[in-house]
């Protein structure tokens, strides 16, 4: 039983490490900011997930009940989209102000939501839209 658990732990560690490595490799080799964002925010979620699962199994096999890993993945899932979102917004601003120093990505210029509207990072949320917190 213990050997089986050890094998599972080793497999999960290898899988996790591989995904973290691939995510970092994506950061290096993808062409521009927006594409690069996909590497570390994504491939890394599963990578870290596998590493944390390996940690749970490892301590489980030694009879120690450990749940810190669950908490780590919870915080990771909450924070990862936010940091990606912040980087994307900074990228939008750098484009608009002309401060960008890199050529356009494959996707080209980001479109506008509608003829007269704009994205929330450029414009204060409009009054009287349901999603706006400016209402109350």
């Amino acid at each position: 039983m213990s050997a089986l658990l050890d094998i599972a732990v080793a497999a999960l560690l290898l899988l996790g490490a591989a995904f973290v490595l691939i995510g970092s490799w994506g950061l290096v080799r993808l062409p521009t900011t927006m594409e690069r964002l996909h590497g570390p925010t994504k491939a890394t979620t599963l990578g870290l997930g596998a590493l944390l699962l390996a940690s749970v199994l490892f301590f489980q096999s030694r009879g120690i009940w450990s749940a810190h890993e669950l908490l780590i993945s919870l915080f990771l899932f909450i924070t990862a989209p936010i940091s990606a979102n912040m980087i994307a917004k900074v990228h939008l601003h750098r484009r608009r102000t002309g401060a960008k120093v890199e050529p356009d990505g494959i996707a080209g210029e980001p479109p506008r939501p509608s003829e007269d509207g704009d994205w929330a990072t450029f414009e204060a949320p409009q009054q009287d839209t349901q999603a706006s917190t400016a209402n109350s």
Partner: protein, 163 residues
């Protein structure tokens, strides 16, 4: 009466669970302290969420969580494959403008977070009128189909969960 002591029961329950996880064990002291936080923190933060949406905790939420977790795993392999084996000039990166039917800020945040967590798509921004999401996709052959997929797979359940 119940509503005055526990204005936000879900938040209270979550605080208790997170506290116990942080303590890494269930002890009488931990439960008491966690329960205390569960009662006090929602009380003190009540002014910060004036008209929060009601969330249905039920099958729909559970199915949604399982779907998202499953998609994260599957799509991770997909993105890893793209990073390893696709040449840069073969990537079909695109900006997607997704019209959203969700209306509450909380629901839109959950949708944007889900889109960012499932690999291959990052949500970049929401429009100022709250009706569109700007999403960057790493490799999408057909933007219209991808938008329809996101709307059907993530937005439709969220519409049922947040009312």
């Amino acid at each position: 009466m119940m509503k005055r002591i526990l204005p936000h029961p879900a938040l209270s329950a979550m605080l208790l669970v997170v506290w116990l996880l942080m303590a890494n064990g269930i002890t009488a002291g931990g439960v008491v302290l966690g329960a205390l936080f569960g009662v006090l923190l929602p009380k003190f933060t009540e002014p910060f969420w004036p008209d929060r949406p009601r969330i249905r905790f039920g099958r729909a939420l559970l199915i949604y969580l399982v779907t998202v977790l499953f998609d994260i795993v599957v799509a991770n392999f997909h993105v890893a494959g793209l990073i390893l084996f696709r040449r840069n000039d073969g990537l079909r990166s695109r900006w997607l403008v997704i019209p959203i039917a969700l209306t509450t800020p909380e629901a839109i945040t959950v949708l944007a977070g889900t889109i960012s967590l499932t690999p291959g798509t990052v949500s970049a921004d929401v429009s100022a009128d709250g009706r569109f999401l700007l999403v960057h996709a790493l490799d999408v052959p057909d933007p219209a189909a991808e938008i329809a997929r996101i709307k059907a797979r993530y937005e439709a359940p969220l519409l049922r969960i947040f009312r």
